[in-house]
Symmetry: C2
Subunit: 293 residues, 2 copies
């Protein structure tokens, strides 16, 4: 059967871009995959690994004739990329992305889009702590959710096509409003990453001798935070800069709760500690039941 899209362009070919290429080829979703990345190194690597059939030095030529363009770079680069490609998009093309925040994406890509180009932003809830074109794999999206946040009034057929696209990549798809996405992800993803970065930073500031012991005995809990905090610095910088209000709101709640626990420890209130530590188990059970553990 014919591929879902004749020509797909990936702008940015790191963990997510390369995984999308693997998943698209596994499912035969694209007649041709074109690509653009910022550096010569990544562009050469993408071609060498067979992630793209054509590679382009500039984004404008990469998107020419594409039926689907997926931006897979850090969200801070979208405004510039949007300005570069906007006038070269084919009428009827779908412009999508994989960025971890969604209101800012609509703010940066939405205005001045040519008539007949459909903006369907997306966010696959799947990832690892690795980056770059070598780190992708075909099964990354299998069984994971992908959230689509089309602005009000988006062409229904375009949204439907992106739902089929992500399902064919192995995902379950949910459509929601961009602001709602940003609030939800602030607590499920952005705040956990911020906290992990903070505690690993606290350790990085300890004196050398202590630091090497922390590494030695990291298996007792700390280790898991370091994995989360090994994610790409630029990607995460851009997430926090572009989902500021929702992150600060959740961070405020977390800080209050932490202060309450601090107080309970200081005053030896064992019953309060035990009650909280018991209550949190229900959430874990929910995640196991939802098969997301």
């Amino acid at each position: 059967s014919a591929p879902l899209f004749d020509r797909v362009t990936l702008i940015g070919i790191g963990l997510i871009g390369s995984s999308l290429s693997h998943a698209m080829r596994r499912a035969g979703l694209a007649g041709h995959i074109a690509g653009h990345a910022r550096s010569e190194r990544t562009r050469a690597k993408a071609l060498e690994l067979g992630l793209v059939q054509s590679i382009h030095d500039d984004p404008a030529s990469a998107v020419r004739d594409a039926d689907l363009v997926i931006i897979c770079s850090p969200v801070g680069s979208y405004a510039e990329i949007g300005a570069a490609i906007r006038d070269h998009l084919k009428p009827g093309a779908i412009l999508s992305d994989v960025g971890s925040v969604k209101q800012a994406v609509i703010r940066d890509l939405g205005p001045n889009l040519p008539d007949g180009v459909h903006l369907v932003p997306g966010h696959p809830i799947a990832g690892t702590e690795h980056s770059g074109p070598e780190s992708g794999f075909a099964t990354l999206f299998d069984g994971r959710w992908c959230i689509l946040t089309p602005p009000p009034g988006t062409d229904a057929a375009a949204v439907e096509k992106m739902i089929r696209f992500w399902q064919a990549c192995g995902s379950q798809v949910e459509v929601m409003e961009a602001g709602h996405h940003d609030k939800t992800l602030a607590i499920t993803s952005h705040l956990p990453h911020l906290i992990a970065y903070t505690i690993v930073g606290t350790v990085a500031d300890l004196e050398e001798a202590t630091k090497s012991e922390v590494i030695k005995f990291s298996a007792s809990g700390f280790r898991d935070f370091t994995r989360i905090a090994a994610s790409d610095p630029v990607m995460w910088r851009d997430v926090f800069l572009n989902n500021r209000d929702a992150v600060l709101e959740m961070l405020g709640r977390f800080a209050e709760d932490l202060t309450a626990l601090q107080r309970a420890i200081r005053w030896g209130e064992g019953d309060k500690l035990e009650a909280l530590f018991t209550r949190t188990r229900a959430i874990r059970r929910g995640i196991i039941d939802a098969k997301q553990a």
Copy 2:
């Protein structure tokens, strides 16, 4: 060859106690394993699973004639257990434990020990989020560190024997001062658990609709915190109550660092965020190089 100990008694037969039984039997370390646990259910289960060869309703009869007694219950129960077994310990016996804090253990078990009984506290840096006699397995300690914290003046032969014991259970052993242990573990283990409990608690307080979405999209980071926060509530209550000063000290540093990050997000200081997120990667590399990832 003869077992290292003729008779070993486990007080408390949960995750760690049952794993120790598996590991001891795998290595043939005990001629006889006796046990005591608080509830009838656990005592029956321990016998049924073959974790112990004899089970005792009271701790005093459980320790009779034992060459090695290992307390494997939450550290808040040690004072009571110590008082109950003290006068029934055999001369020459080693009294040890697996508790996650060590100064409080020496405070609660050390005084009034009969002459000729050797206190050699221990802490295996290994665990899971599961509890109870069914959750143990023989390989839990393989390749992991075990820290011993004998008080100054402890019989060297007794310490040496416990080093051999833990090595035979699969561990690497480190001997250190109890206060130093408590400071190190405050940052590698206790603070990470406290933070994980806090953020999962913050989510538990959200309205129902939001909570079910958090569970659905938990794979984006939050999931890892819920695993850590699924650990036994009583065990962790006792850890925080018994390592208060070291935990509050590290928590203070963490809270300061978090406030600085909050400020950087509020004021859009991308360079500060990126610099921190880059610096933390070195710690992760250290853990991978130390083969503790």
